[in-house]
């Protein structure tokens, strides 16, 4: 009962033979060997598996690989280009927005959609916007700073300080 599907991930086509029950996250990690997207909870709660499907952030542990046939999938591996890091990666790096890094790929993909829809979000909108992503290390403050920094960077505004803040 397998189906032959082609997933377009970060612009590259991956053709694979999958059972319909295969989850998108497994197809991305195991069949396409892109292990940047993580599996945290496997119950649609943590957001570690967040990827973009046609630009929309999605929990890929709750979507079947067959549903993504023909769609554009973007994962953390596609963020950086030959020119360098994506602004969101730079933002996370400079603002110390990760400790263990497990949540980071999902959070960055979620932040990419958030900033695409709302280039200049308030702190509340950022916190609300990442409410589907859990981080067990940072306490979120530096993640919020990173997204604020990236927002400024992407709009060519003056960059906020990246000095650690003690709250």
């Amino acid at each position: 009962m397998t189906k032959k599907i082609t997933l377009k991930i970060n612009g590259a086509e991956h053709t694979m033979e999958v059972e319909p029950r295969m989850l998108l996250i497994h197809a991305i990690r195991e069949n396409a060997s892109l292990t940047g997207s993580h599996i945290g909870c496997d119950t649609s709660s943590c957001g570690a598996c967040t990827v973009l499907i046609d630009g929309k952030s999605a929990k890929s542990c709750t979507i079947l690989a067959v549903q993504a046939q023909g769609k554009e999938i973007a994962t953390v591996e596609g963020l950086a280009t030959a020119e360098g890091l994506h602004p969101i990666q730079e933002g996370f790096h400079l603002n110390h927005a990760l400790h263990c890094g497990f949540c980071t790929p999902g959070l960055m993909m979620r932040a990419v959609e958030l900033l695409e829809k709302n280039p200049n979000p308030t702190e509340d909108e950022i916190r609300w916007g990442i409410s589907g992503n859990l981080c067990r290390c940072t306490g979120y403050n530096n993640i919020v700073s990173a997204i604020q920094w990236t927002s400024a960077k992407m709009q060519g505004k003056e960059l906020p300080s990246t000095e650690p803040k003690f709250v």
Binding site: M1, P20, L23, K56, T62, V66, G132
Partner: protein, 289 residues
């Protein structure tokens, strides 16, 4: 967690989907946003042998006012409701509710049709639709039929959608005159199902007398509940503080919550009373604008 195996079809027309549902019989299930169904299949609480994915059927996703109704296509995603101009302007209850449903990623996929068809009293849209007096359009082999929201929820995970049918549209009497609506639920954390939730709709004449009222309750009874006694005391009244307090009291008496990790019965009844009062007042202040 991996679901039991199944066959997958993604038809591109409603007729084809309905034909497939008939061909495969009872073990076939419709896949909409998948954000209730896939988790259940992963836990093996549900093991359909065929999934009919209706995401590729055009024309099932819209929010529009027409013929005196607000019409919402069954496949309209939460995020599309959240971003709809008509909703922002006139039906703020959906802004209240969608914000409290899960998280942005889930709202990118979960559909309004799926939220109702799932038949779970813990979901938020059932109470909203009760308060707004919605009708549900269901399409089958022999055409379309319409079911009032009060006859829609029939049991745990059971609705008026029969096998071989697809929920296609939700119809809500359009807002007119001094109309206001509001929703709130108490939740333990973002994305959690309601400890208790209340939806309220109020319509008033120019003298401030209530002409129409709807109160729906989330997750405090086995089925999504209409607080009928609360509505009766509101309709025709001047919406005084005493009347609103009475409506809140009735709602807390008429629900039948069960004790669970979210709280005991007394606490949940108390929440229903407090939130009912607040949502009626919020609906009234919106109706006055």
């Amino acid at each position: 967690m991996i679901a039991e195996n199944f066959n997958y079809d993604a038809p591109t027309s409603l007729d084809e989907a309905i034909a497939l549902l008939h061909e495969y019989g009872d073990d076939a299930k419709i896949l909409a946003g998948g954000h209730s169904l896939i988790p259940m299949m992963k836990l093996r609480f549900a093991s359909p042998t065929h999934l009919i994915d209706i995401n590729n059927i055009p024309g099932l996703s819209y929010v529009k006012e027409e013929d005196g109704y607000l019409k919402i296509g069954a496949m309209t995603k939460e995020v599309e409701v959240e971003e709809s101009e008509i909703i922002h302007a006139k039906y703020q209850i959906f802004m209240d509710a969608t914000k409290l449903i899960a998280d942005p990623q889930v709202r990118n996929f979960g559909t309004l049709g799926g939220n109702l068809a799932h038949g779970d009293a813990a979901n938020d849209h059932p109470a909203v639709m009760i308060a707004l007096g919605a009708d549900v359009e269901i399409t089958g082999k022999d055409g379309k039929r319409t079911v009032g929201i009060d006859d829609f929820f029939q049991g745990f995970y059971t609705t008026a959608v029969e096998h071989g049918e697809v929920l296609t549209e939700i119809r809500i009497p359009a807002a007119s005159g001094n109309y206001g609506s509001a929703y709130h639920k108490a939740e333990r954390k973002v994305g959690d199902y309601a400890t208790a939730g209340v939806a309220a709709m109020i319509q008033m004449d120019d003298q401030g007398r209530c002409t129409k009222a709807g109160i729906g309750l989330t997750n405090v009874s086995p089925l999504p509940l209409r607080a009928s006694r609360s509505e009766e005391v509101l309709i025709g009244s001047d919406l005084s503080e005493a009347v609103i307090a009475q409506a809140a009291q009735y709602a807390s008496e008429d629900c039948s919550p069960s004790e669970d990790l979210r709280g005991n019965v007394e606490y949940k009844r108390h929440l229903v009373s407090v939130i009912t009062k607040r949502m009626i007042n919020k609906a009234i202040s919106r109706a006055k604008k």
